[in-house]
Amino acid sequence: MLVISVLAAAIGAGTAILFACLGEILCERAGILNLGVEGMMLSGALAGFATTYGTGNPWLGALAALAAGGLLSLIHALLTISLNANQVVSGLALTLFGGGLTAFLGQPLVGLPAPASFGKLPIPGLAAIPVLGPILFRQDALTYLSYALVPLLWYWIYRTRPGLYLRAVGESPATVDAMGLSVQRLRYIYVVLGGMLAGLGGAAISLASNPGWTENMTAGRGWIAIALVIFATWNPTRAAVGAYLFGGVEALQFRLQGAGTSISPFFLNMLPYLFTIIVLVLATRETVRRRIAAPAALGLPYFREERS
């Protein structure tokens, strides 16, 4: 029973990271590195909570979160795609800006109770399946949405024509350009989609796993999502594995704290961060060994009217 409840909690906690990671996969597949995930998640978390607080409807909150994340990523898109600014610095700026902005605007909302949130919504029938039921099908609506999103994105990337263009633009924008597709348009679309998903990831915290708003409540999950993209080798299904792994670490950490172990809570709190570093080291070694490379044009600006 304990194992089942930990696993169920792992999936709940992993949902936020999963959304953000899927978003970053789209963005990086298009060749743009967006280190602003943390900032976009925070803005999504705040927008989601504030809207829900005002309207009482968490679905409107989720929409607001999508919009907030998308809006922030639009800044990054403008700077990196249209103005060829340094992607690393622009992403960092986005994270710093998102953190400051949400701390400033969210001040009045700190500690307020959520009037509504995405509660657990057991799926009739499926929830009764032994073991799997309580783990997978007694979750909230956003988690179910993420279940659908993983295969959908997989199909999109590997089995559709627009997905082919997405894979191509991150590998060789010059080819995509010469073949008559707009590199800029493709990149804008996926950067903004990525931002929207990160925003939704934020809402999955403030409206589902941890209802409420506090300053910096994402606590580095945006960065963990970025690290997971490498673990996932830019593949949505592997992203799900990684996200639930991290959800598991988080769930375990709370479990241990609740059970009153002798380990200092400060060390327990370090777990997700240390785990991220370890996973990143292992994933990097794996990609080197199997020669899986990041999208070849990742992080590089593309300009046409210029000669090398």
Binding site: T160, E171, S172, T175, M179, L181, A296, E305, E306
Partner: protein, 526 residues
């Protein structure tokens, strides 16, 4: 009827005018060559036609109707396609997937099977066989070029532009391509063929338009011209030929062996064997040319010798000293100069000034450095001396390297590399992309180094260059040395066969009756 017509096209990049009021027309059913030396504006003009660049002035007409191309999509829609010098292919995708990129209106689901079938049929028809399901990175350079052509045909291109297509092929493959192009023209397509090589232009074209310094010189009928006239039109003066035949090796067999490579193997970037048991010797006062189609281990060979890549087995000895496991710095110290293939990405740092580029290999030596500190005055003197000695045309030593022309950048690189009186020079494509004047200067510099007693390993894809400069030529194919022959009197047909992997170990038999350009001349009488 004119398939395409460019009228008064001008294209500038910043302050550089690449095309100045150029007019050009090509007809349905002809092969039209665009001839000019490097930097004459050929590629720019055709990129304008392909919709990649927008002209600053001038018009494009297709089948008599004026068109405005906002992007390559518009050009493709008008049936204009280009085979670029650097292939526009996505390595990780399959042949069919590459063909489908940007194809309008075929639904969301990816249906590759019909595309694969159609590509196979087209390949059959024009003798361009390639597996439509293969991923690009698995294909040889020649096959990749076929993919480019097939893609254009599949997309219904009526005007096909080829940018220096033979540069990456063996002489035999080049002859094959020329045949294919003639077939395509006979089928009613319009073929535009960009080149700076007189012989192949004469072999393939019906008409020839010559560009010089960004302007149209003239358009001539193939039948009404000859090699001599074209050379004069292209360069604007009598062409000397690639440096007249030089006296052979100063020291000949008597020279000291400066570079010895024994049983050398190494891996390429993708983890596949790039070099397999390579055996080479270069003596003092000798130029050894390495011929081969791009991607057969040339880059890896240069990198292993200069310490930039680890050998998996075998031995490299420089001046008798085993340097197989040495760091790049130790190899520089052993007297090795390296002119890398990738001038701007490896050999120079375009964003730094000339002075900083010139000290790249010497910045820790006296008197440029004193202890931990750099000596500004000594560095300034050093830079000025090299700039004037090697005739680098530059405003000052404080100018950024990226502002120099290709030829001057290469001279800058040579100035630095040759200034240390190296005993071994590894030169990879030293004249690629530089104009005729600079090419001559670079050839003279290399020959002067040979006379001084240096050993030169010259890697090039240009057989003419190798034949003119080398004492001996070794052919590299799939990482193996197929054969080494004396350059004087070497037979191009035999070399081409080796480059394609044929005639292995038939070391003594290179008497096939083909002289320089022979295979090409056979096609002239179409």
């Amino acid at each position: 009827m004119n398939a395409v017509e460019l009228t008064s096209v001008t294209k500038r990049f910043g302050s550089v005018v690449a095309n100045d009021n150029v007019t050009f027309a090509a007809q349905v059913g002809e092969v039209h060559a665009l001839l000019g030396e490097n930097g004459a504006g050929k590629s720019t003009l055709m990129s304008v036609l392909a919709g990649l660049y927008r002209p600053d002035a001038g018009t494009i007409a297709v089948n008599g109707a004026v068109q405005h191309f906002r992007s390559p999509r518009d050009a493709i829609a008008q049936g204009i396609g280009m085979v670029y010098q650097h292939f526009m292919l996505v390595d990780s995708l399959t042949v069919a997937e590459n063909a489908m990129l940007g194809q309008a209106g075929h639904g969301v689901r990816l249906h590759t099977a019909p595309v694969e079938r159609e590509l196979a049929e087209l390949g059959q028809r024009y003798g361009l066989a390639v597996d439509p399901r293969a991923r690009i990175w698995q294909l040889s350079v020649g096959e990749q070029q076929r993919v480019e052509i097939l893609r254009l045909l599949y997309r219904g291109a009526k005007v096909l532009v080829f940018d220096e297509p033979t540069a990456v092929l063996t002489p035999q493959e080049a002859a094959g391509l020329i045949g294919t192009l003639r077939d395509m023209a006979a089928d009613g397509l319009c073929i535009i063929f960009i080149s700076h090589k007189l012989d192949e232009v004469l072999a393939v074209a019906d008409r020839i338009t010559v560009l010089r310094h960004g302007r149209t010189v003239t358009t001539v009928e193939r039948r009404a011209t000859n090699r001599h006239e074209l050379a004069r039109l292209m360069v604007g003066r009598e062409l000397m030929g690639v440096v007249a035949d030089q006296p052979q090796a100063v020291a000949g067999d008597a020279g000291v062996v400066n570079l010895e490579v024994r049983g050398l193997s190494a891996e390429g970037d993708k983890g596949v064997r790039a070099l397999q048991g390579v055996e080479l010797q270069v003596r003092s006062g000798e130029i050894l040319g390495i011929a081969g189609v791009a991607g057969n281990g040339q880059r890896e060979l240069a990198e292993v010798i200069t310490g930039l890549r680890r050998a998996t087995s075998g031995e490299v000895r420089i001046g008798g000293q085993d340097t197989t496991r040495c760091s790049p710095r130790e190899i520089v110290a052993a007297g090795v100069a390296h002119i890398p293939e990738d001038r701007n990405g490896t050999g120079l740092i375009p964003s730094l000034d000339l002075q900083d580029n010139l000290i790249l290999k010497h910045y820790r030596q006296q008197p440029l450095a004193r202890g931990l500190f750099l000596n500004g005055a000594a560095i300034g003197n050093f830079a000025d001396r090299l700039l004037s000695k090697y005739n680098v045309a530059a405003p000052s030593r404080a100018a950024k390297a990226r502002l120099l022309s290709g030829g001057n950048q290469q001279k800058l690189l040579l100035a630095r590399e040759l200034s240390g009186q190296p005993r071994l020079i590894v030169a990879v494509h030293p004249t690629r992309g530089v104009d005729v004047g600079a090419t001559e200067a670079i050839h003279h510099l290399l020959l002067a180094q040979r006379s001084r007693g240096a050993a030169v390993l010259l890697i090039s894809e240009d057989l003419d260059e190798l034949l003119a400069l080398s004492d001996r030529i070794a052919v590299l194919y799939e990482g193996k040395v197929m054969d080494t022959v004396p350059a004087r009197g070497a037979d191009v047909g035999y070399l081409g066969l080796l480059m394609a992997g044929g005639a292995q170990s038939g070391a003594a038999d290179h008497g096939r009756p083909m002289d320089t350009g022979g295979i090409i001349n056979q096609d002239v009488a179409h």
